[in-house]
Amino acid sequence: MTERPIRVLVAKPGLDGHDRGAKIVARALRDAGMEVIYSGLRQTPEQIAVAALQEDVDAVGISILSGAHNTIVPRILGLLRGQGQEHVLVVVGGIIPDEDIAELKKAGVAEVFQPGASMQQIVEFIRDHAKEPA
């Protein structure tokens, strides 16, 4: 029996259109054998949560560069919990200052990838931590 590949939603919330990072990560995860759904731009937290449920993903990667992460990320986490997806691994990538990381992790983010993170680090983290029992 072959195990189902890891399914990841790469999500781009907020008004920002900088999608270079999100698309590169999506492609790297796909090249690493994962099934990747890219949300497209400017998705609300509600749209992202609905997609996570409908696509039955194991992980959500949120790309955010605009500085709105403290408002947007906790809301996505709350919605995922509210629909029984607390087991879904949530990682965040983008321009996240050091001092915001602890708060994001407390809210349930598994890892934050700051500028300069390699694709390999991101792929390995998701491979190692997705589908773990919550």
């Binding site: 008004l15 259109g17 270079r20 590169i24 497209g40 709105a68 408002t71 321009i95 300069g116």
Partner: protein, 566 residues
């Protein structure tokens, strides 16, 4: 075997070495390589263009100076658009600036002028760029973060308070809602008593590169292009010193393109705008002199210089030969340059000062008309006042101490730079052919062509970085443990609260019947084919907000979603 490109528009091909070169290779090079081999198998520019070991006069044999270069100020302008270049006047030092409330940014603009900056450049926040007021639900968390929040004429009046708008030139980075923001600026100028015939500045207004790279689009391509055409034709008649568009490669490069892609997509966008305005009934020489450009400057100094030189030449030729422009001012590729934000690292941020210096030098050696130098802290946040001052000082040192502004096109005649300029030009024309074959730039965008080309280049670059084939100092090599050593600018949520209060007051106190009537007139004008600028100006005078105007147009024009990413 040495490889090089043939001159002009011929195809790349290997060149047979001359007698002298063969002797040098046998007697000098080969013994030397045996003793100490080269560091790498092959060398390329940052964008992957192969670079030879050596360039000699043989690489330029047969180069027709008048045809390929021309003196500065003469067609095809490869060596610069002005006869004396920076001996006559230095480039304009124009730092892009905008954050928080209009009051916050107004203070920063005054500060920059006091520090010797010679032009203004305004960054707007994401809600403004997307045509939403600060009190819109989707604006939450974003107000004032990436630029200044401007929702109405009242905000614009605050933003430019105390700035003499007949004398200072202002560049505004605004695209989808460019017509509305420009209208606000023009009405603010009018209220100061400034004459539109004397007001000068730039709106970016380049919607094509939004679909291609920056992705801050609202409406579908056809009505968006109509707005661009309306602003260009209105400007040509009413605000003759204004640059109604800044055709931008900057964001294309930031999205991960190569230098050639940046050049080719930008100039092909320019061609597309010219075609649309001509189709709308305006003669090319009536508007082309006010078209302006905006390029990136990345780390590979010679590649960047070659790009700027090729840009002038390709544009001049397109205007003269493709469109039959006869006014020499129509042939000029006048451009602003910004150093590459995507080259800045969050690690060891002081290294960014060095990167920015090299990039700024490239822009000056390439003959830019104005320049923004990034600040060392911009991989993390908008710059602090201290960081932006250092960035401005970088330009001032280049201008006044380095000596590079003393002669026009100082790298002209370099075997390497001339050869690279020709290769860049050739590669640019290859992209033109592919885009023309797809039916033009709008058609190419709708098929996702430039988007895919850029994404492939960005992915290839990231893989090279991961494999350490490309070294980024402080990121994948020469890494040190560090605590972040710099202070950052923080925009808190009180900005959003203040903006919401101001908007509530505006909506309460303005003449709402007037605003409503003006918005209705905008709706019916949008459904017709009349120029929208006059009705937009009426909406602005009635203090209709940016969001209200854009909502009207969203209803009439619809909105755009990009083709799915696969």
């Amino acid at each position: 075997m040495r490889k090089s490109f043939k001159l002009g528009t011929e195809t790349p091909a290997s060149r047979t070495p001359s007698e002298d070169e063969r002797r040098w290779e046998d007697e000098t090079l080969i013994p030397s390589l045996k003793k100490s081999p080269e560091r790498k198998e092959s060398f390329t520019t940052l964008s992957g263009v192969p670079i030879n070991r050596l360039y000699t006069s043989a690489d330029l044999a047969g180069l027709d100076y008048e045809r390929e270069l021309g003196d500065p100020g003469r067609y095809p302008y490869t060596r610069g658009i002005h006869e004396t270049m920076y001996r006559g006047r230095l480039w304009t030092m124009r730092q892009f600036s905008g954050f928080g409330t209009p009051e916050d940014t107004n203070r920063r603009l005054h500060y920059l002028l006091e520090q010797g900056q010679t032009g203004l450049s305004i960054a707007f926040d994401l809600p403004t760029l997307m045509g939403y007021d600060s009190d819109h639900l989707l604006a939450e968390g974003e107000v004032g973060k990436c630029g200044v929040a401007v929702s109405s004429l009242a905000d614009m009046e605050t933003l430019v308070a105390g700035l003499p708008l007949e004398h200072v030139t202002t560049s505004m980075t605004i695209n989808s809602p460019a017509a509305m923001i420009w209208a606000m600026y023009l009405v603010a100028a009018e209220k100061q008593g400034a004459n539109w015939k004397k007001v000068s500045g730039t709106i970016q207004n380049d919607i094509l590169k939004e679909y291609i790279a920056q992705k801050e689009y609202i409406f579908p391509p056809a009505p968006s292009m109509r707005l661009v055409v309306d602003t260009i034709t209105f400007g040509a008649r009413e605000v003759p010193h204004w640059n109604p568009i800044s055709i931008s490669g900057y964001h294309i490069r930031e999205a991960g393109s190569t230098a050639v892609q940046e050049l080719a997509f930008t100039l092909r966008d320019g061609i597309e705008y010219v075609e649309w305005v001509i189709r709308a009934g305006m003669a090319v020489d009536e508007f082309a002199p006010r078209l302006s450009f905006f390029f990136n400057s990345h780390n590979d100094l010679f590649e960047e210089v070659a790009k700027y030189r090729a840009a002038r030449k390709v544009w001049a030729r397109a205007m003269k030969e493709r469109f039959g422009a006869t006014n020499p001012r129509s042939w000029l590729c006048r451009f602003h340059t910004q150093t590459a934000g995507c080259s800045l690292t969050a690690q060891q941020p002081y290294n960014n000062v060095i990167r920015t210096t090299i990039q700024a030098l490239a822009a000056v050696l390439g003959g830019t008309q104005s320049l923004h130098t990034n600040s060392l802290d911009e991989a993390w946040a908008l710059p602090t006042e201290q960081a932006v001052t250092l960035a401005l000082r970088t330009q001032q040192v280049l201008a006044h101490e380095s000596g590079v502004a003393n002669t026009a096109d100082p790298l002209g005649g370099s075997y390497f730079v001339e050869r690279l300029t020709l290769a860049t030009e050739r590669a640019c024309y290859e992209y033109f052919d592919r885009i023309d074959a797809l039916g033009g730039m709008v058609a190419a965008i709708e098929r996702g062509f430039p988007q895919k080309e850029i994404h492939d280049a960005a992915y290839a670059y990231q893989k090279a970085v991961d494999r350490k084939e490309e070294i980024i100092v402080g990121v994948n090599d020469f890494v040190t443990e560090e605590k972040r050593p710099i202070e950052l600018l923080v925009i808190d949520e009180s900005v959003a609260a203040r903006q919401r209060e101001k908007l509530a007051k505006l909506r309460r106190e303005r003449d709402n019947a007037w605003a409503k009537g003006a918005l209705e007139a905008l709706a019916s004008a949008a459904a017709s084919d009349q120029n929208l600028m006059p009705v937009i100006l009426d909406c602005v005078r009635a203090y209709a907000t940016l969001g209200e105007m854009c909502d009207v147009l969203r209803r009439v024009f619809g909105t755009y979603e990009e083709p799915a990413f696969r």
